[in-house]
C-alpha cells in the first residue's frame, strides 16, 4: 500500500525548479531551503514494535503483558520521551520536515514540534512544563539535533519501574536516517535533581510497509476497568 509520494514530490520539485529557470527567475528561497532537508517521508515504528505485529512476537507480547501488575492501566498518550520507544504494533509516527520545524505525529495523539528557525527556548517567565516539553533544533548536515526542556515531571514511560524525572530534565537527541528503511535516535537525558549521571539510549526505527496512513488509537471504548485492584473485561 506504499504510495509513490516521494517520487511524485521529487518530480514536482524538479518541474518547479525547471519552470523557474526557464523563466529566468531563481527558485524562491523557501523552495531552496526545502531542497537541503532530508527526506523522512513515510511511517516509522520501533524495531520492537515491528517484531510484535503477529505470530510469535504477538504471543510473546501477550505473555509479557501478563507480568504487569494486576492494576496496571495506561490509557493516554505516551508523551515524551516515551513516544520515541513504544514497542507496540499500533504505535507509529510520521515526521513532517520543513525549514521552520520538524513535526512528529504519532498514532496515539502525541505531537512534537521541533522548531528549527533559529529561535531559542522561551524565557523562564514564558515557559512552563508540558507533556512534550519545549523543543528546538538545528541541522548537522542530515542529522536533526534536538534540545528539549520543560517536560512535565514524572516517569519516563508509564510502565512500572521507569525512572522518575523532574521538570529540570534536559533532553538532547540526534535523529537521522541511516538508510532507506532505518532511522535512529540517540538520546541523552540529564536531570541534576534525579540522575547522578546522564542516561543514554539509542533507538532504531524501521519503515512501516503495511500501513499507508496514521490510524488513531485511543480509549473511547474502554472495556478494561480496574475493579478491586484488578483489570477486568467489562461485559458488553
Amino acid at each position: 500500500m506504499i504510495r509513490a509520494n516521494a517520487k511524485l514530490t521529487a518530480a514536482l520539485a524538479a518541474t518547479l525548479f525547471a519552470a523557474a529557470a526557464a523563466a529566468g527567475e531563481p527558485p524562491p528561497p523557501r523552495a531552496l531551503a526545502f531542497a537541503t532537508l532530508p527526506d523522512w517521508t513515510g511511517i516509522w515504528e520501533t524495531e520492537a514494535a515491528a517484531a510484535s505485529v503477529s505470530g510469535a512476537g504477538a504471543q510473546a507480547a501477550a505473555k509479557g503483558a501478563s507480568l504487569l501488575p494486576p492494576d496496571f492501566k495506561s490509557c493516554h498518550a505516551a508523551g515524551f520521551p516515551a513516544i520515541m520507544n513504544v514497542p507496540l504494533s499500533d504505535f507509529m509516527f510520521e515526521l513532517l520536515v520543513t525549514p521552520e520545524q520538524t513535526m512528529l505525529a504519532a498514532t496515539d495523539g502525541t505531537v512534537r514540534h521541533v522548531y528549527t528557525d533559529g529561535r531559542a527556548h522561551p524565557k523562564p517567565a514564558d515557559l512552563w512544563p508540558t507533556a512534550a516539553g519545549d523543543s528546538i533544533g538545528h541541522w548537522d548536515r542530515k542529522t536533526l539535533v534536538i534540545d528539549t526542556v520543560a517536560r512535565e515531571a514524572g516517569p519516563i514511560s508509564p510502565f512500572p519501574g521507569s525512572p522518575n524525572l523532574s521538570t529540570a530534565a534536559h533532553f538532547t537527541e540526534r535523529l537521522r536516517r541511516l538508510d532507506a528503511n532505518t532511522m535512529e535516535d540517540e538520546m541523552t537525558i540529564d536531570d541534576p535533581k534525579r540522575l547522578t549521571r546522564p542516561m543514554q539510549s539509542r533507538i532504531r526505527y524501521t519503515r512501516v510497509r503495511d500501513i499507508d496512513r496514521l490510524i488513531p488509537i485511543d480509549c473511547e471504548h474502554d472495556r478494561d476497568p480496574v475493579v478491586n485492584g484488578k483489570t477486568v473485561v467489562a461485559p458488553p
Partner: protein
C-alpha cells in the same frame, strides 16, 4: 525529591519497560489455552481493543463470551478487517481464559467455517 536514581554504567537503556500492553493481562491465564466453538454475535471494531462477542451453547444454555483483541490498527496489521467475521458466523476460537472463570478472554485466534484462521499461531 525522591532518592537520586543512579543509572550510570548502563550503556544503553530503553525508555520504555519491556511490557507490551496498555493494561495488565494478569487476569488472563496465559499458561493455558482453551478452544471454544460458537456463533458470532458481533465484532466490536473499537479502540483501544476490538472484541468478538461469541455465543457459546453449553449444558446451562447459551453464554456470551467477550473475546478481547488488540486495537483496530494492530488487528489490521495481523490480518483482520472490520468484516472478517459477521453476525451468525460459526467459528472455532482459541483463547487465554480469565483466571476467575468469567466468560471473557484474550483471543488468540479465530478459525472460520471456510478454514481460514485469523489472529496468529497457537501459543507455544
Amino acid at each position: 525529591m525522591n532518592a537520586v536514581q543512579h543509572l550510570a554504567g548502563i550503556a544503553a537503556i530503553t525508555l520504555a519497560a519491556p511490557c507490551l500492553a496498555h493494561h495488565s493481562f494478569a487476569n488472563f491465564d496465559t499458561t493455558k489455552s482453551l478452544t471454544l466453538h460458537g456463533t458470532v454475535k458481533e465484532l466490536q471494531w473499537t479502540n483501544p481493543h476490538c472484541y468478538v462477542q461469541l455465543l457459546v451453547t453449553g449444558a446451562t444454555g447459551s453464554v456470551e463470551w467477550s473475546l478481547e483483541m488488540n486495537s483496530p490498527l494492530a488487528s489490521y496489521r495481523a490480518g483482520w478487517r472490520p468484516g472478517s467475521v459477521q453476525r451468525g458466523d460459526k467459528v472455532t476460537v482459541m483463547l487465554y481464559p480469565t483466571k476467575d472463570g468469567t466468560p471473557a478472554s484474550r483471543l488468540i485466534s479465530v478459525t472460520r467455517a471456510d478454514g481460514r484462521t485469523l489472529g496468529g499461531r497457537p501459543p507455544a
